[in-house]
């Protein structure tokens, strides 16, 4: 069974600093996607960034980047220049195949607090 593990229930960071959220996963697939979602208090699930496993280059989206270590099955999220609006729950997620129409398996989440 596919599993996604987030070992940090809570993290905090000073505004403008950098923070890294950890995620590990288990899969027997060779090609797949990985996602980070953000859920602010509004409860809307917002896609932050995705990584395609067949790409060696780490994905980046403005202040958000990932450190993807395929062999180690690790997919961490780095947030640079943290802003107050980054405060939210962050979920790492993984669909079991890259063919679409598959459910997402979510990690347990990391609550990120931004300290002004």
């Amino acid at each position: 069974a596919q599993t996604v593990t987030q070992s940090q229930p809570e993290m905090s960071v000073q505004e403008a600093e950098t923070v890294t959220l950890s995620c590990t996963y288990d899969t027997s697939e060779s090609d797949y996607y990985l996602f980070w979602y953000k859920q602010p208090p509004s409860r809307q699930m917002i896609l932050v960034i995705r990584q395609e496993a067949y790409k060696q280059q780490n994905a980046t989206e403005n202040r958000f980047s990932v450190n993807f270590q395929k062999a180690a099955k690790s997919f961490s999220l780095k947030i640079s220049d943290s802003q107050l609006g980054d405060a939210a729950m962050y979920f790492c997620a993984y669909p079991p195949s890259n063919f679409g129409n598959e459910k997402l398996t979510f990690g347990t989440g990391t609550r990120l607090t931004i300290i002004p």
Binding site: F35, R43, Q44, M45, F91, P95, N98, G100, N101
Partner: protein, 114 residues
């Protein structure tokens, strides 16, 4: 990617009653997914709804408690039946965007059962 309108956004219901949650997608999608998020927890998949066939339920969820309809490729409903306080959660629908652009979610329904 697809845009999903979910309603109601929140409701407070009496135990023993039922609530139907609706999700409308702005484009045709094959699969829709229904999740439950209990307070302070992650998302747990309830069922996968494919148009024209019965929904596929995950372990621990049954059709009698969470009946799902999928009458066409842009719409789905989830009913939470015979509610108890333990059903108080956020319920979210989701679908996948084109070319795995990412899974899109509805804005969620916060259900409180009293």
């Amino acid at each position: 990617s697809a845009v999903i309108s979910q309603k109601p956004s929140r409701d407070i219901c009496q135990r023993g009653t039922s609530l139907t949650i609706q999700c409308q997608v702005d484009s045709q999608v094959t699969m829709m997914f229904w999740y439950r998020q209990q307070p302070g927890q992650s998302l747990t998949l309830i069922a996968t709804a494919n148009q024209g066939s019965e929904a596929t339920y995950e372990s621990g969820f049954v059709i009698d408690k969470f009946p799902i309809s999928r009458p066409n490729l842009t719409f789905s409903t989830l009913t939470v039946s015979n509610m108890s306080p333990e059903d108080s959660s956020i319920y979210l629908c989701s679908t996948m965007g084109a070319a795995l652009a990412g899974y899109t979610f509805g804005s969620g329904t916060r259900l409180t059962v009293v």
